[in-house]
Symmetry: C2
Subunit: 303 residues, 2 copies
């Protein structure tokens, strides 16, 4: 099976099309890497690129695009609503198929070394790639942002980058490089306009209040349609599958006499999550990836 990883760099640029184009070109300059998506937000002055492909190719594309961002984005002139520490701000490596999280941690560390060597941009590691427990959470690493941390480090703070010379880059700051599991952004629309029901369900199912593991959830209002929505991030679909989250929300909604109007994905879902859901919905006793004709064909062709 061909190995596939995803990489989702976030940049402190959401307005200048020529810069966004240059970042896209840097990614696409590497063969066997596919740029799957690009979203830019003017108010946040920030963009998110989604690329995928074979691990070594994605690694090289990730390094190149960080270099491009460092050359083009000057944080001393950047004002946006979104917190940021670097021109290339966050760089997570994500396993998709045939790759472990541990392998993505190794890729993150290699990316960090190369970014410092090639471009002189210092690096912090976060999430699964963190080198110390106090750097696991992105918000802890980014605290104070570019301007604050720049001053703090000059004043001798111990919050020095994991790779670098103890300071931030004067215009590109630092890149926060990491590895994490695939994130599925998944929303369920309720057939009601009562926001409090969506909020109650979100509270009931989310990890932080003792609900399902690996689920972040909040209730919000879809004003355009007059529907309340449970908006979620599923941070480990193999431990807490999408279809189990759907079933939990449907069950909780039923307790309020409310049905599910529909659900939606923001972005992509890995094939394995689809197959897991199909298997469960139809109560298959035996169902593997190889039960799907195209998968069996791909497996034979790749072997």
């Amino acid at each position: 099976m061909r190995k596939i990883i995803e990489c989702v760099p976030n940049f402190s640029e959401g307005r200048e099309e020529s810069t966004l184009m240059a970042l896209a070109r840097a990614i696409e300059s590497v063969p066997n890497v596919t740029l799957l998506g690009r979203e830019a937000d003017i108010d946040h002055h920030r963009s998110v690129f989604t690329m995928a492909g074979e691990p070594e190719a994605v690694l090289e594309a990730a390094i190149r695009v960080v270099g491009e961002a460092a050359a083009r984005i000057d944080l001393t002139r950047h004002r946006g609503e979104h917190l940021r520490l670097g021109a290339a701000d966050v760089l997570p490596f994500v396993p998709v198929r045939g790759v472990s999280l541990t392998e993505c941690v190794e890729l993150a560390w290699r990316a960090g070394e190369a970014i410092w060597q090639r471009f002189g941009v210092p690096v912090y590691f976060y999430e699964a790639a963190a080198k110390s427990p106090d750097r696991v959470r992105l918000e802890d690493v980014r605290r104070g942002q570019f301007e604050g941390l720049l001053q703090e480090l000059k004043a001798g703070s111990g919050r020095v980058p994991d790779i670098g010379a103890g300071q931030l880059h004067p215009t590109a700051g630092a890149v926060i490089v990491g590895a994490r599991k695939f994130l599925i952004a998944y929303n369920i629309n309720l057939a009601t306009d009562r926001l409090e029901i969506a909020k109650a369900i979100a509270k009931k199912i989310r990890t932080s209040s003792g609900g399902l593991p690996h689920v972040k959830a909040m209730g919000m209002m879809l004003h355009s349609r007059g529907l309340a929505q449970v908006s979620m991030n599923l941070t480990d679909f193999e431990q807490t599958p999408v279809h189990e989250v759907f079933a939990a929300v449907e069950r909780e909604a039923a307790a309020y006499g409310v049905s599910v109007a529909g659900s939606e994905l923001i972005g992509f879902i890995p094939r394995h999550a689809v197959e897991m859901g199909f298997r469960a919905a139809l109560k298959f006793e035996q169902f593997t990836s190889g039960s799907v004709l195209e998968n069996a064909l791909d497996a034979k062709l790749e072997s």
Copy 2:
């Protein structure tokens, strides 16, 4: 999107391993064709091979394997329980991805011409590739089998092959070549040992008694597990999706106070059927093939 078809030749040989190996080699002699499965039945003295790949490659492999079968299998010495007209008995071309049934009909016709030209084996066309309405059904074409039809044609019957010189091949008979939609062999096990319930449900849902379109179903007993089973062939999963069949059986079973113990596939399921089922189970408002990360990646790489 890469085009994929399946071809499922049936041969009048289920016992001699050297012959089965030769048939497999004939298929595998064509690049870009994958032999996905091979099943042989000693009592039926018959085997079924499943191959898939790009249309032109599968066409060539199908022609070659028919030639190999005609050279090795002598119907005048063949006695088995299964009805048969040819050494290579049935040769259906099946669309899997990016290919229409009409394209598979064209392939079937081209295969028929080549089989006659290269090997002197006459050809009947059936199902979607039939040249006349009385040859659509396989059982109509095969009526009388090899021995009966051989006599009938010598006596001047009008049941002459669609391609050929008006007679059967003396040892290889004729090949029945066709095109049909993908067949999903799908069984649902009921949490009961009451066979009459499985039979009643099968009767309720199958097309022939006014149930769901494109469903063949019968009730049978899984003696090893003491469970009654609804055993089905779904002959057009895009018109009658697997998940709708599951829901129908589950609903009918519930009316008898019986639950579904589990379900199983015999053979493969196309990816599209899996995605359709997932979409329905989670009530997705928008869900396309491109929502799946690997599909989006494949589409970009192939474009």
